[in-house]
């Protein structure tokens, strides 16, 4: 008898893992300047040759104090000769974002693989009932897959831009990679704002069902049912799904906002804002991709009865009772349970089959 006691823990764990990684990376970024300076001091040589312009250049380099000069050239940052944060940012990108981002994604994939091998597919305890509940309208499914395809495209093109030089260029060589990178950049930049549209549509359609309700905290603290063998009740969306929704809206919103700042540098953003936007964009995106990997896993091979929700719009009654019991009960009370036959009919698969026209008759009359 398969136990379902571990069924929900990992869904809850994924967003938590995401949050944790954000914290780690932010801390790393903050610690960076200190370590960079410390490195340089260790490697300083004893023989000092005084540089007559040392003071001038120290000021220009803005080591001690951040200052901005004046110039006749108009433009943002025209008064900054050398951006001191430029090298911080480059180092962060090359030595923290790329490797640790890679570890994060790789680690997630590994985690999912291990989970699948150890836990297997989460199956329904009881057999499928042959009765269905209507869960997602055509519109809702359309905007979900709209969002999903945009996300996948932006994720792939974004990852090519971030990891391509390290992972793809050595394999394909510079000629092919430059084409790929240019294409990715153009595609990423054009589809980015469209993602904002998708986010808005998703938010408007689903926000009401993602508001915190009584029982959600219990669900979260119990890891969705890991302690004990009781099924935890949940409404239309469980706390794991709600967490992902809000991550998408908030972190996704931050990704879009920072992306818009990056792609439209015409509103007076200086280099520093662009660097910070890039950092937020990169970290946010990696966190979201990590979370979405888990979402894709559990929504497809990870759980029996999950994917049909978002493709057909219907879910099995047993599945609903096991995973969203409050909602399922309410549907039953309102008499909204449908039979397989009713579902088939509304999908147009009920064909009126006239009696086979008699071959004899056909030959006679024709």
């Amino acid at each position: 008898m398969r136990s379902n006691s571990l069924s929900y823990s990992w869904i809850a764990a994924l967003p938590l893992m995401g949050l944790l990684s954000v914290l780690i990376l932010v801390l790393a970024f903050l610690l960076l300047p200190a370590s960079a300076i410390a490195d340089e001091q260790k490697t300083a040589t004893p023989i000092q040759i005084p540089n007559p312009a040392a003071d001038l250049w120290r000021e220009v380099r803005q080591r001690d104090v951040v200052g901005v000069g004046t110039t006749q050239a108009a433009g943002v940052d025209a008064g900054t000769l050398i951006n001191p944060y430029g090298s911080n940012w480059t180092q962060f990108r090359m030595q923290m974002l790329i490797p640790y981002g890679g570890y994060l994604l790789g680690g997630m994939l590994l985690l999912l693989l291990v989970f699948y091998l150890v836990r297997g597919r989460i199956r329904m305890e009881e057999a499928p009932s042959g009765k269905k509940l209507f869960r997602y309208t055509v519109y809702e499914r359309t905007i979900h897959w709209f969002q999903a395809s945009l996300f996948l495209f932006l994720a792939v093109t974004g990852l090519i831009m971030l990891f391509g030089r390290s992972l793809i260029l050595p394999v394909t060589g510079p000629e092919v990679f430059s084409v790929l990178a240019s294409a990715s950049k153009e595609g990423h930049n054009l589809f980015g704002p469209v993602f904002l549209l998708a986010l808005l549509l998703m938010f408007i359609q689903f926000v009401r069902r993602n508001i915190y309700e009584r029982g959600d905290l219990t669900w979260l603290l119990r890891g969705g049912g890991i302690i004990g063998k009781t099924h935890l009740p949940s409404n239309f969306f469980n706390m794991g799904e709600k967490t992902l929704f809000w991550m998408l809206i908030l972190i996704g919103g931050a990704i879009v906002a920072s992306g818009l700042l990056l792609v439209f540098p015409v509103f007076g953003q200086g280099r520093v804002i662009m660097e910070l936007s890039h950092v937020a964009h990169g970290i946010g995106a990696l966190v979201m991709i990590t979370a979405v990997l888990g979402h894709i896993y559990i929504g497809s091979i990870g759980m029996e009865g999950a994917v049909e929700n978002m493709t057909t719009g219907y879910c099995d009654l047993t599945w609903a009772k096991e995973h969203h019991s409050n909602w399922a009960e309410r549907c039953e009370q309102h008499g909204e349970v449908l039979s397989d036959e009713q579902v088939a009919r509304s999908q147009g698969s009920h064909r009126y089959q006239a009696d086979d026209v008699d071959a004899e008759t056909v030959r006679e009359t024709n």
């Binding site: 945009l150 430059s178 084409v179 153009e186 054009l190 469209v194 549209l197 999908q347 147009g348």
Partner: protein, 213 residues
């Protein structure tokens, strides 16, 4: 070698197939003929034909509500595509060089990009809706998906080539566009031209009855 083929012979071939194909399809419609209407009309048919040509752009009240996604996404796609196809600078230059000999004023770059974004959003939403909705699932044929897919790929390859830095990307876009031109007359993409006839015929027939259809 392939580059020269795409820029040269294949371009001429696809353009000829497109023009002759469209003309032939329209000729077939006209050839099928319409019997003269002997009933006494209430209004002039030609007037009705022209009226309906434009009035059908505005959907009826309950259809605008029930089919809201199709109406909104449909206009996003068609208007976006129209603007970017005929008024984006790279296209204006292309037409001027290869088709008309003269150019016209293109739209600013940001208008081009926003139109492209609207067109993509509209097309994606419509295509997904087509796959999800029971009615369009039942109706849709392979041709519908090939047509939608080809248009999408042409648009996507164009977007990927926006940097104007790599011949490979430009040629991919041109090749896909040529394939679309060849496919066009054999598909229901022909609605771009035949809708004039279908709206016109209905407008005329209904106007003679006294109905603004």
């Amino acid at each position: 070698m392939i580059a020269q083929f795409i820029d040269g012979p294949l371009w001429y071939f696809s353009s000829i197939v497109f023009v002759l194909g469209v003309l032939y399809r329209i000729f077939l419609i006209i050839k099928a003929g319409v019997k003269p209407d002997l009933a006494v009309p209430r209004q002039n048919g030609t007037f009705g034909a022209v009226r309906t040509m434009f009035s059908r752009f505005v959907p009826r009240r309950d259809i605008a509500k029930r089919g809201r996604l199709q109406v909104v996404a449909g206009y996003m796609f068609h208007l976006g595509l129209f603007v970017l196809l005929f008024f984006a600078k790279p296209h204006v230059d292309f037409f001027a060089e290869r088709v008309t000999g003269v150019g016209w004023t293109p739209v600013p770059y940001w208008v081009f990009i926003v139109s492209a974004e609207l067109a993509f959003a509209g097309l994606l939403l419509l295509w997904l809706y087509r796959l999800m909705h029971p009615v369009t699932r039942l109706l849709s044929s392979t041709g519908d998906h090939v047509g939608t897919g080809l248009v999408f790929l042409v648009m996507l390859s164009g977007c990927l080539a926006l940097a104007h830095s790599f011949e490979a990307l430009r040629l991919t876009h041109l090749l896909l566009a040529e394939m679309l031109l060849i496919y066009f007359p054999f598909s229901n993409l022909m609605h771009a031209f035949t809708f004039i006839f279908s709206r016109g015929f209905t407008g005329a027939l209904m106007a003679r009855k006294g109905i603004n259809a």
